[in-house]
Amino acid sequence: MRLAYVHLPRFPVQRRVLEAPALAGQPFVLVEEVRGQRRVAFASTAALKAGVRPGSTLTAASALVAGLSHFPHAFAAEAAALLSLGEALLVLAPAFQLDAPEGLWLDASAAGLCGGEETWAARVVEACAAQGWRARVVVADEAFTARALARFGVRRAEVVPSGEGGRALAPLPLSALEGAETGRLEALRALGLATLGEVAALPATAVVARGGAEALRAHRMARGEEPSRFVPTPLPEVLEEVLSLDWPAESLEPVLFGLKTLVDRLCARLSGRRRAAVRLTLAFRLEPSGEAQVALSLARPTAQAKLLLDLARHRLEGLTLERPVVGLRARMDEDCADPGQQLVLGDGPAGDAALEVVLSRLATTLGEEALFAAGVEGVHRPEAAVRPRAFRPPARPEGLLAELGGETAEKTREVEAALAERPARLLPQPAPLEVALGVGGELAGARVEGRWRRASGLAGPERLGGEWWRGGGFSRDYYRVHLEGLGLAWVYRDGRDGRFYLQGLFD
């Protein structure tokens, strides 16, 4: 099995800069609590240049750099961010294994589908860069070789040919043996060894005799023969992204900026899972407490960050928050499989954006319940035969699919024959009808819209009945009546009270 290691140097620092671009180039550190002392876990490049080192106390670091900014290092949050990146990379690899806080392994067995391992590695670097991450990628036979070369190598993307792990590792310093015990490294240094190549050159029997199993492990690592253990990280069930703003935002722009980061990550994760957003909730944490939520529902499921962001921007423009926003959260409430979209040459999915924006605008003004698509129910009571449902039109086949005939892609919808005899308009409630009956008891005229109208023709009855098993059943004899000056009306005689009712118009 071929493995790749994606190393993201000082990932927590990169993340902090991505979320607050003002920190770029500034000296700052991330601190953690170690035995009651605040110690530096990660330092920015500017802080490192000033002499700050990970492990030093915050007091010592602050003494080196005047006005050093410091932020808490939250391991769980960093791991979650790394997990998001791993999910986003699932577009290129079938599985990943986290190695928090600075890297992850990828299953590179599918690299052949991307034009070879070199191309694949370059694409992984590009995918990371697209999200703002600086990464180094190494593909090798086993996990240690890939990790050590990614962490201590210099190339952005590197492929170690199969069986040449030892040769590739040879120039690396002894500190690359991160899995080995510290004492063991010291022992190796005491022997005058400086590189992994020198360790690998030692005879295995002598290494075992002097250092035991642990030394043998270090020896095998240096030779690139450490057995790989790749355990794919399970994907979380809930897709959620959280972002804390450093300063309370009182205007739309900083909120939108944060939202872009959030939506970008969410969409990248969706793409990795081959899913598309159907419904998502944006939550805004307010200062000092409270939360405002905005639900976005899409007619055309999508994983395009730009479209979602446009939609969110539109919804936020009409939103008034009484307090500043200090945090954002985006949660996917419903998603579906994303089959992708084949576009026509030179075409773009602009129509989908227009659709989503207008639906969003209408939903904001009229309410979600005012917009719907109709579903036909298999019941006989006419007024109960319609059920509103969410408007999710099927995508329009384009490109080659349209050329070949979109009909093949869509199932043929069959309509029950009886529906062809139904009127185009159905009154919200059947209206009692004042009628005149002929000698034979047939309907001869009716009073509609305030005046008597002659029945010039009549067809029927069509008996509809049922629901007696539930109580409150119905039995109706329906007639199609030509009323002069009006047109064709759908009238029924109720079996319960014998009265006539107007229920629809064949308009």
Binding site: T365, G457, A459, G495
Partner: protein, 282 residues
């Protein structure tokens, strides 16, 4: 070497074929939907472009059951055949989707909007038409008490033009719209409905035609033909005494049986004695 050269030649040939295919695809005229034909020939023939032109607003004005909705739904069905989206702004809340489905409307591609307030109807239609996401937008203003002002009519026409959509306005004769092509529909008893262009800037004003009911509701054709053959309108209120005839097309769809009862439960089953030669039992 020979095999390799052959392979290279084959690849080059395939590539050239693919290039040629792409050139053809790019050069081929895009399927461009300019008009929506309802499929009701007499009606389509009246209109300037032999159909309802996209990018314009057309008013269908008529009585309550004069065929306006059916014509509009047939235009929607025409758009759905091209797999385009349509919207129906249902002011009175009377659209019956099962009937629309029977006319060829794809309910998955039809957005129904029912605003709570009458004043939101026109605004909604303007938004939908202007977006360009819908090929046809139907605005039903009947029985809402709303009367379209000239400015609103122009706004609707402008939105349809900008969005390249067809905007169909359904109105009643007592509250007609303004500022767009108007087609008057009028039921003509059993024979059908009369459609007439009563307002047009593109010409054809005054042109009219009779559309038989069968053209709008083909499923009713059999019964209708039978009725028309033997039916004489009764002089109901004028005191006439001509016999009124009707067609009995009794259909029992489900549920209750004879006389609304459940045979064997609400009513006794008819005796089979006579059929079995056992004689009547009393």
């Amino acid at each position: 070497m020979g095999a390799a050269a052959e392979r290279t030649e084959g690849t080059a040939e395939v590539l050239e074929q693919l290039r040629e295919r792409i050139r053809k695809l790019q050069a081929a005229p895009r399927a461009y939907l300019a008009t929506l034909r309802t499929g009701v020939a007499p009606f389509d023939a009246l209109l300037p472009g032999r159909g309802l032109p996209l990018g314009s607003a057309v008013e269908l004005c008529g009585e309550a059951a004069s065929g306006r909705t059916s014509l509009a739904l047939r235009a929607v069905a025409a758009a759905h055949r091209e797999r385009r989206l349509c919207a129906y702004v249902d002011g009175p809340g009377q659209l019956y989707p099962p009937a629309a489905a029977a006319m060829g409307v794809d309910l998955e591609r039809l957005l129904i909007v029912r605003p709570r307030e009458v004043k939101q109807l026109v605004w909604t239609a303007v938004q939908l038409a202007r977006s360009g996401a819908f090929a046809c937008v139907v605005l039903d203003l009947t029985q809402t008490g709303a009367r379209l002002a000239l400015a609103e009519g122009k706004k609707l026409a402008d939105a349809a033009f900008r969005g390249g959509s067809l905007l169909l306005l359904l109105t009643a004769p007592e509250a007609p719209g303004d500022g767009m092509l108007r087609v008057r529909t009028q039921a003509q008893g059993l024979s059908g409905l009369r459609v007439e262009v009563v307002r047009s800037r593109q010409g054809g004003m005054g042109a009219g035609a009779l559309v038989p009911w069968e053209a709008l509701y083909p499923a009713l054709a059999a019964a209708r033909g039978h009725v028309a053959a033997g039916m004489h309108p009764r002089e109901l209120l004028g005191g006439g005494d001509q016999g009124f005839q009707r067609v009995r097309t009794s259909v029992e769809r489900n549920g209750c049986g004879v006389m609304g009862g459940r045979p064997g439960r609400d009513r006794a089953l008819p005796s089979l004695g006579a059929a079995l030669g056992l004689g009547a039992r009393h």
